[in-house]
């Protein structure tokens, strides 16, 4: 909300400086958005009399002027075509900064003539584009007076952000009251004159929608002469960015800002049938004062006469009954509208008006009679005429509430031991009145404009709460909320900086665990992957349906109803989807070789889980001693293995099946399972058609690990280490098997051939080359036998080897390679 300093001072008696005022506003919760002090930059420019302007001896287009700025006579060379003897202008002396040109003036000599200053154009003062000549002021402009003072520009404009709870602070008077309560002056009394009622109002009220409008007043002023407002009122409004319309309309806008009290004026002669009725809309079209048409709904409260809807209550008036220069009889509306009703209507019709923003925060329910009188008085002052009686419908609602403050709660809750007298004084300056007080507490009547204090809004409790628990909690709220409101007011006005900071009390000498085991595992997985050469990314949780569909299901239940862009509308089925797009963006920048991973949400119809996903795109780094290679799914599998083994998964229990999801290459991908049901991870080369759809050129391998599927390792003490006394024996075997036989089956068979003796099986060679029969391959393994009782004899080793060969042959049909 904007207001000028002089406007503020019509309500606040103060000697405080502008910076005192703005600093205080920020500290008490009326945050300063900005101060516009248009005059500050111009304060040194004085009104000056051009005593003489004669042709420059050495330049056709220049004049030599003698200028009196009230502080002396100066010689000035001026190039403006309109410089002439006897005129009044604006003068800048040497040393002053010229806002329009960004130059600081110096005494100079122009073609042999001394120039001690400058006569300014509007553009040079930074006041617009006019540079056709120097400023030509009226003859009565006072020489020596600073230009901004004469031009009325020395009035700083203060802009504050008003929080949604403070409807009362959306008024100059409300701001003045807060400042006074914070100790920055005294709030002036609001003087309300007596306006005699001379006739019966030709327009009256009827309320058919009391929930939306409990109370409305009105008064007719007849014999008015409408026209432009006087200058002071126009200046008030233009200073805060409002456009003056005509005196009657300007009066309503003035009180909206001055008292936070929106009003509306009807041209009484245009109201049909003599009764204005507050009722639900019924689908009528209605043209508002902004020239736009709206269709009002049954939940919109409207003001209608017999001709139809004339106003959208509390939001915007109508064009048909508006006041213009021909208006001679005006009906002033001063109503109390329900905040929620106004909010819903304004939001639906997308009308942001000064009236709406005040009604929806809640306005002063007791101010209606005084506001009606003040508006009537100002209309008569500006436009003449005589006033009718005050007509009304409904009644003043029951707004009176009390709140009690136990003084000890200031320290126990607010953390600051404010003396009781000081606390009460602050509240009284805000308009609270003491109803009862003892040594321990004070009970106060809440002023009518503070709808936020001791408000009685409904709870929205968890429906699953046990009834007794819910009732006890509700009683706790009832008891504590009004007091919390008062503590807030007392602390706010003294500045929260006054509350001493206290470090958190320790719960235990050494803190307990910060992370759950699951959280710690995610953090560990992050470090493992980064240590494996992948860089962590954070990508959006949503992307286009089309791209999401490449990577998994895209149910409409996970599609945003109001996406910000069409390509950000589907929650991703896996972080791999957005990582692949990230790899593509990097490739577009000329960085096709990237290794990225992300630990983040994967969204599925059955719920949200956490994936550690990664992509290795492009080729591995080129080096003199290693072939440049990329697209090896085994690298992705190694990433999976690194994470799973670090997280304590029993690796020997895992199986890899060849049924990875469709975004992988069907022949170069796998699903990692623990038992038949649990899928821990998938990995592989990305499907060529996915690469093509993403416009990802090079090879890319990827993996996805479902961190939530990993069982929490059993928290038990480690078993003793296995440290046999006898040396292990290693034997190599080369098996020839059908090319379709999977290595995992062969390795498991070998490992299982002699469980107590075989501790390790390593596949060290796979051969499918020319020297192999077509459709066959050779798998070479190294088996480690670990004796435990005695050194193995040759016969025992031979027997164990025979078992390995037999077991592998049985499982895979393998023969030993000749």
């Amino acid at each position: 909300m904007k207001f000028s300093l002089s406007w503020l001072k019509t309500h606040l008696e103060t000697t405080a400086t502008l910076s005192d005022i703005t600093d205080t506003l920020t500290m008490i919760g009326l945050e300063l958005e900005g101060v516009e002090d248009r005059g500050a930059a111009l304060a040194g420019f004085r009104i000056a009399h051009v005593i003489e302007a004669v042709q420059h001896p050495n330049a056709d287009r220049l004049r030599m002027c003698k200028v009196d700025d009230g502080h002396g006579v100066h010689s000035v060379v001026c190039g403006a075509p309109n410089a002439r003897t006897g005129m009044k202008g604006v003068f800048a002396t040497a040393g002053q900064f010229i806002p329009g040109t960004g130059i600081t003036l110096k005494v100079g000599e122009i073609r042999g003539v001394k120039s001690e200053g400058m006569l300014l154009s509007m553009r040079e003062m930074g006041l617009g584009d006019d540079h056709s000549g120097i400023v030509d002021l009226p003859d009565d402009a006072p020489v020596g007076v600073p230009y901004p003072v004469w031009a009325g520009m020395d009035d700083p404009i203060i802009d504050i952000a008003v929080t949604p709870n403070r409807g009362d602070a959306l008024s100059v008077r409300g701001v003045a009251r807060d400042l006074a309560a914070a100790g920055l002056g005294v709030l002036k009394a609001l003087r309300v004159p007596e306006i005699p009622a001379v006739f019966a109002s030709p327009v009256t009220w009827a309320i058919e929608m009391p929930d939306a409008c409990p109370w409305v007043l009105g008064r007719t002023v007849r014999g008015v002469k409408n026209g432009p407002s006087p200058q002071w009122l126009q200046d008030r409004l233009t200073s805060i960015g409002l456009r003056p319309i005509n005196a009657l309309v300007d009066v309503t806008n003035f009180f909206t800002i001055d008292l936070g009290r929106p009003l509306h004026v009807f041209d009484a002669d245009k109201v049909q049938g003599g009764v204005l009725t507050l009722r639900p809309g019924s689908g009528e079209r209605f043209r508002a004062l902004n020239g736009k048409d709206y269709t009002v709904r049954p939940i919109d409260c409207v003001i209608a006469d017999t001709a139809g809807v004339q106003s959208m209550a509390g939001v915007m008036g109508g064009e048909a009954t508006g006041c213009d220069e021909n208006t001679t009889s005006v009906f002033i509306e001063c109503a109390l509208f329900d905040p929620i009703s106004v909010a819903l209507t304004g939001r639906h019709h997308q009308i942001a008006s000064d009236a709406r923003s005040r009604f929806e925060r809640g306005i002063d329910a007791a101010l209606l009679p005084d506001a009606t009188t003040l508006a009537t008085a100002m209309v008569m002052e500006l436009c003449g005429g005589e006033a009718s009686e005050t007509v009304s419908a409904g009644a003043e609602p029951a707004w009176r509430r009390q709140a009690t403050l136990r003084f000890r709660r200031l320290a126990e809750f607010g953390g600051l031991d404010v003396p009781a007298d000081a606390a009460v004084a602050r509240l009284e300056r805000l308009g609270f009145t003491v109803a009862a007080r003892d040594a321990d507490s004070v009970t106060l009547d809440v002023p009518s404009w503070r709808n936020d204090v001791a408000a009685t809004s409904a709870l929205e409790p968890d429906p699953a709460l046990a009834p007794e628990k819910a009732a006890k909690a509700a009683a706790g709220r009832e008891a504590m909320e009004p007091e919390a409101d008062l503590v807030e007011e007392v602390l706010r006005l003294g500045g929260l900086d006054a509350v001493p900071a206290v470090s958190m009390p320790q719960l235990s000498p050494v803190p307990t665990l910060t992370l759950t085991p699951r959280q710690a595992r995610a953090a560990f997985a992050r470090r493992i992957l980064a240590a494996n050469g992948l860089s962590e990314s954070v990508t959006f949780s949503f992307l286009s349906v089309k791209e999401a569909a490449l990577f998994g299901p895209t149910p409409t239940s996970l599609r945003l109803l109001n996406p910000i862009a069409a390509d950000l509308d589907q929650l991703r089925p896996t972080p791999l989807a957005t990582l692949a797009a990230a790899a593509q963006r990097n490739a577009n920048r000329g960085h096709g070789d990237v290794n990225l991973f992300e630990i983040g949400p994967a969204f599925r119809e059955e719920g949200q889980t956490v994936f550690a996903a990664g992509i290795r795109a492009g080729t591995a780094p080129r080096a003199w001693n290693a072939p440049a290679a990329g697209g090896d799914p085994m690298v992705a599998k190694a990433d999976v293995w690194a994470v799973l083994s670090a997280l304590g998964v029993p690796m020997e229990a895992l199986t890899t099946t060849t049924d990875a999801p469709g975004h992988y290459h069907p022949g170069r991908s796998g699903t990692v399972r623990q038992g038949p049901k649990t899928v821990l991870a998938t990995f592989g080369a990305l499907h060529p058609s996915v690469l093509a759809a993403l416009d990802l050129g090079g090879p890319a391998v990827a993996f996805e690990i479902d961190l939530n599927a990993i069982q929490e390792p059993k928290r038990r003490k480690k078993s003793l280490p296995d440290l046999p006394a006898y040396q292990p024996v290693k034997r190599d075997f080369a098996f020839v098997v059908d090319a379709a036989v999977s290595a995992e089956v062969l390795l498991k068979a070998a490992k299982g051939a002699e469980r107590t003796l075989i501790v390790r099986v390593v596949l060290f060679d796979v051969y499918e080359g020319d020297r192999m029969e077509a459709g066959r391959k050779s798998l070479a393994i190294e088996v480690t036998f670990q004796p435990r009782e005695h050194t193995l004899t040759d016969a025992e080793i031979e027997a164990a080897c025979a078992k390995v060969v037999a077991a592998v042959a049985k499982a895979t049909g393998a023969t030993l390679r000749g």
Binding site: F413, E460, A473, E481, V499, F597
Partner: protein, 356 residues
Amino acid sequence: MTDDLASLTSETEAALAAAADLRAWDAVRVAVMGKSGTLTNKLKELGKVAPDERRTRGAALNVVKEAITAAIESRRAALESAALNARLAAERMDVTLPPHPVVNGLIHPISRTMEEMAAIFGAMGFAIAEGPDVEDDWRNFGALNIPAHHSAREDMDTFYLPPLEQGGRRRVMRTHTSPVQVRTMIGQEPPIRVIVPGRTYRADHDATHSPMFHQVEGLAIDRGLTLGHLKGCLIDFLRIFFGISNLPVRFRSSYFPFTEPSMEVDIGWNRRTGELGGGGDWLEILGSGMVHPKVLANCGIDAREWQGFAFGMGIERVTMLKHGMPDLRPFYESDIRWLRHYGFSALAPAMLHEGV
């Protein structure tokens, strides 16, 4: 010494000198000292020598044997040393070659900041709580004293999802991490100390707003926690997080539906240079307040018994300030150049005893 022994010695020495490698050397050794070597044969023949000559002959043979053994061993050592030198010369390589390439991975600055927050708040007894990104509108709004008509629901530019069942609660992308406050208060009895780092979503996209961003929420509920503890907790955090022990921190009265009193928190900085600490300007950094009695009641907590505070701050914002990062958007771009520049080592996690 007899002539035959003298010539044996000299012949052997000549043969050893002629042996160019260990194989030739071994042949000489076997020819002299082997089972039927020349010296061995002479030793065998000692028994046939007449008893009176035997002593002299034996002594002479021993002298020769010792000399020849020494010569053989000495030649072996020389040949081995030469062989080793030859091998070392052959194995010479260009050690100026570049080493094996190692690709370093990195931790994203958002994760790093979350880790640092966990470390600092953890030391103050807070635990990490989490919740889903898709919430119902009661947890995101209603329970937090933001009723259906409240303007805050508009201000927050909420993303909505279709309800799961006809007439069910509206589903939203959580606009803040505060719904986890609600989950925590319903799920556990006070005292409570949690922080909630996580993804949040608002329908806003420009240079300084992203439709997805991260927040950390804090909630502390206990019997005697006051607004003074709120200030102390946040000042302690901010000073350690930014590593400025005298960082100016200012608390301004404000309004949030879920707290009362509510405060905005500013830190001191220099608007012109962007440097934190001095400079006389203030920078808004987070919102906070005492938990509203209505929020406690909605979650079944009796405000007469329990009270506490809550706060929320933007993780990207504090990360940008801490590291002097000028722009928000690259956080989600995955530009490898940016990640390499701002990323953190996996092997240096945030730990209070090593420094955050």
